[in-house]
Symmetry: C2
Subunit: 402 residues, 2 copies
């Protein structure tokens, strides 16, 4: 049994940035194997934007892993602040969510996360339940557990304080509320991003202050790099794979990452065991495996996860059909234009033909393609966008219209 516990711990440690009190985690898993007793693993989510990308699922994958070893996931939707409006003086820009909004968003979360989490081992919770009850007096008592000096030590607060960037007194309440959630939820382990360390530790502090029988362990996950392999995955940077992306797009996006980034994604996103991944890596190193095939297998795993088993293979086939059936040169000349341009003019400018009249004849002869589709209309104007313009079988040019 000791072996099983150690294997579980290896998987739990995988890809983490930091674990506080791994001994507690070990004990909980051991107890589960011995007695079948479950334990609680918490992670908090913003109730406003349940539009997840793979960056978010790193944490959710880890939650799912705990479910294998006796963990009951406490999927906490932090609806309390959303229903009271913005407390940091920016009330005009932040929308107050109605209860219905919160429920709708929770439903949307469920649709997305139960593709990863085992629903039967998950409790979806809302912190408004106990935070509302806390009341004025309860909140003041709560706030008596931390000193101003300790709060200002928090990395972002200390920077803001030193640079005279205003910190509203109310902002001091949030770490306390997050910590109090762990008291109310009787949490054994809390997961979060590395940037959440201060708040995660608050749970430990407050469980002690409130005389709980346990003090939660803390497990922090790193930020996932986006498709570019450099910046963090984010909607606004456009380097993301959305959980609700179409299977075809999802597949293509995974294929677009570098081989190096692929191993990072295996570590943080794949359900393959560490041993399996090590075997793949070895295969690539000794050239018994082609990296492209390994990347395909990752893409298939991820598409299967969000679109059902089999859809990964289907996406792969579709992808092959569309992009792989013709040989498109990997580099071609680029021509950039401002405003729309007549296709015949574009053919001339891109030096694929000598004159617009020749171009017109070529279009009529079905010899011109745009993005691998034949062009039949010789009056076509190209609008803003990027195009692969092709004449005959071997003459390509990239057209960018701004």
């Amino acid at each position: 049994m000791e072996n099983k516990v150690q294997e579980a711990l290896e998987e739990i440690k995988r890809g983490t940035s930091e674990i506080i009190d791994i001994e507690s985690i070990e004990k909980l898993i051991k107890r589960y194997y011995e007695t079948g007793e479950n334990f609680y693993v918490k992670a908090g989510f913003d109730p406003t934007a349940p539009d997840l990308h793979l960056g978010h699922t790193v944490l959710i994958q880890k939650l799912a892993l705990f479910q294998k070893f006796g963990g009951i996931v406490q999927f906490l939707i932090g609806d309390f602040t959303a229903t009271i409006g913005d407390p940091t003086g920016k009330s005009e820009t932040r929308k107050v969510l109605s209860e219905q909004d919160v429920l709708d968003n929770a439903q949307s979360y469920k649709t997305q996360v139960f593709k990863i989490l085992d629903e039967s081992k998950t409790e979806v919770m809302f912190n408004s339940k106990w935070l509302k009850e806390l009341g004025t007096g309860g909140l003041i008592s709560l706030a008596s557990n931390l000193t101003v000096a300790r709060m200002i030590e928090r990395d972002d607060f200390s920077k803001r304080y030193e640079s005279n960037t205003p910190i509203a007194v109310s902002e001091f309440m949030y770490p306390l509320l997050q910590g109090y959630d762990s008291v109310a939820m009787n949490t054994d382990i809390e997961l979060g991003g590395t940037d959440q360390k201060f708040n995660l530790l608050m749970g430990r502090t407050l469980q002690k202050a409130y005389n709980c029988k346990k003090q939660q362990a803390v497990l922090m996950m790193p930020i996932l790099e986006g498709l570019d392999g450099v910046q963090k995955m984010s909607k606004s940077l456009g380097n993301y794979i959305g959980v609700t992306d179409e299977a075809f797009d999802m597949f293509g996006k995974v294929l677009s990452i570098s081989d190096e980034l692929m191993w990072r994604y295996f570590e943080l996103l794949s359900s393959k065991s560490l041993n399996e991944i090590a075997a793949l890596k070895k295969g690539v190193e000794n050239k018994t495996l082609h990296p492209k095939d390994v990347k395909d297998s990752l893409a298939i795993e991820i598409v299967d996860r969000f679109h059902g088993v089999g859809s990964g293979e289907k996406a792969k086939e579709e992808f092959k059909k569309v992009f792989a059936k013709k040989d498109i040169p990997t580099d071609m000349n680029e021509y950039t234009f401002e405003g729309e341009i007549w296709i015949c003019q574009a053919l001339v400018e891109a030096k694929l033909v000598n004159s617009t009249s020749q171009a017109r004849r070529d279009v009529k002869a079905n010899a011109v393609s745009l993005n691998q589709e034949k062009v039949s209309d010789d009056k076509l104007n190209l609008q803003i966008g990027e195009y692969i313009l092709q004449k005959g079988k071997k003459n390509f040019a990239k057209i960018i219209i701004k």
Copy 2:
């Protein structure tokens, strides 16, 4: 009418350390004289210790003054914090008051303060009413109105912060709650001690933040010096006149103050107008008035206030009878003994007689007095205390027995 307003303002300014927004106060009084419309004058009191001395009544006198000019006094009992227990981490030492305790203390306050305040123009209020309702969300919204930097600027906080003396986050809530009281109470003017300036101004800040139609003016009173004329009046220093002191003691304590301190007490404690006081002062200066008589009049006024009209004169007569009917020298020899002493022995030790047998004869001849009362028992033993021992008309000694 302008004259009346100006006279009122002169009385209001009298003895104050600082007034913020006197223009508002002027407008409120003017409006009262023109339309009879009242305005609200708030002061907050600790619900735990309703055992007042004259130091506390300086503020209450000022409240009473406002009642003459249209002010409705909001006598605020800060019961909220008392019923939630101590929030600054010292919960073991501070007693949580029950609702009944709070009501009992409020009753005790009333008994004391309605000797000064006009009950018909006073509203006794409890801030638990609106602070409980505020709730977790309301309190966080409230806390969004102030920055940490601004809070740390408060004099006592900045000193503690710089000296690394812990400040609980909850302590930041108190100025906010006090300020919010003014929002909930629709206060026009708040009175307090000079040490309360930050909290008093918070009322103005929050009334603005909560879009109230008014921003309260603030009037600060100085700390009253105790009987020694140097340190502040306080129970623990023993230099106080308690509101519930016996008339006789109260009278005697006022008489014991220096002539200089007497004028300070006139300014801060007397209901006499500034003109009347100026006349008294002039009388003393040009010797048409004896300072002792002026001090008598102050003592009579104060005793009358707390024991009813006429009791001041009565106390004065009693005082005369006891202390003033015989000429006691202001300085006499002092003799200190440990443990009790036989009166005849004391007469010998104090060199008032030559022998105990002579002493015994003198007692029997009614020639010996103790504290101006004839002694008839020649076996009397003096217990621990201070005594004026007298033989015949002119021989005195002070006896101190420890």
